[in-house]
């Protein structure tokens, strides 16, 4: 967190310095972000994968702070690295299955997909160079603060805020609907000759 604040301080518009320190910080955090991301997708140990992702999110929070998005940076740490990743950890613990080592299937498909992604990047990357012909504007002093963003959230984005509440409600229903078992269903399980249900306790734990 100390590091985060230092980073924020250094790129604060009022104290822009010509030194290379912010750039070095940027490289460090970028390395954390990309390194964490790459580790995430190549880990076989699930808990380690989740932890790598947490590292990525911390790095991203620092990067956000460099962009003067202090509120979002804090949110990133709280919601993402905190709440969402806890959810992931939880599910990983419940399922508790590491990927069994076996050869990859559909190699050709995966290669075609990889080529597509590389091609996408080749189309996109050069364009980002000239993406900002107008240059960077100087933000106001309270740019990115809680007060500033909160003001927008509860005025211009009030509708969006309410819409998100419906979204979260749907997420809650999803968790309830999918994880809950009706007693009635358990009784009729044999009758329907379906796959057998998980033991009650496991399901209770999963939500």
């Amino acid at each position: 967190m100390m590091l985060l604040e230092a980073a924020a301080h250094m790129v604060d518009p009022s104290t822009i310095s010509t030194s290379s320190a912010p750039l070095i910080l940027f490289w460090i955090f970028s390395a954390v972000v990309l390194g964490g991301a790459i580790l995430t997708i190549f880990q076989t140990n699930m808990v380690a994968a989740v932890m790598s992702l947490v590292a990525t999110f911390f790095g991203l929070a620092a990067i956000y702070a460099m962009l003067s998005a202090h509120f979002i940076a804090a949110l990133q740490v709280l919601v993402y690295a905190g709440a969402i990743m806890v959810l992931f950890i939880f599910v990983v613990m419940v399922l508790n299955k590491d990927e069994a080592p076996r050869p990859m299937r559909g190699l050709i498909t995966k290669m075609i997909g990889a080529i597509s992604i590389v091609s996408l990047m080749f189309t996109l990357m050069p364009l980002l160079d000239n993406a900002v012909p107008g240059g960077v504007e100087t933000p106001s002093a309270d740019f990115g603060t809680v007060a500033n963003v909160g003001d927008i959230l509860f005025n211009d984005y009030l509708f969006a805020f309410e819409a998100v509440s419906i979204l979260l409600l749907i997420a809650v229903i999803a968790a309830v609907v999918v994880a809950r078992t009706h007693k009635q269903e358990v009784v009729e399980e044999g009758h329907l000759a379906e796959h057998e249900a998980m033991p009650e306790a496991t399901i209770e734990a999963s939500h």
Binding site: L60, I63, Y64, L95
Partner: protein, 100 residues
Amino acid sequence: MIPPTYFLYLAALLFAVGAFGVILRRNAIIMLMSIELMLNAANLTILTFGRIHADPHAHAFAFMVIAVAAAEAAVGLAILVGIFRNRRNVNIDELTLMKY
């Protein structure tokens, strides 16, 4: 000062890594995490452009995206639990009851 393009590059690379994760890994949890990476890449792009335009609305947008990502993760994990309950594993390449 850091050129804003760097942030955009970082976001693009993060997006690519996320996309790689989705197509390479068969474990559905990792795929979900990779999708989170892609969403974060988009978020970073939004915030960078918000900084460039000095527009705090971008922050509100990013806020919404974080909330959506949370909801999406919850729904995804719920479906995952449902899958696990039926089959006892979460390998996406074994989910081939339906094809053609």
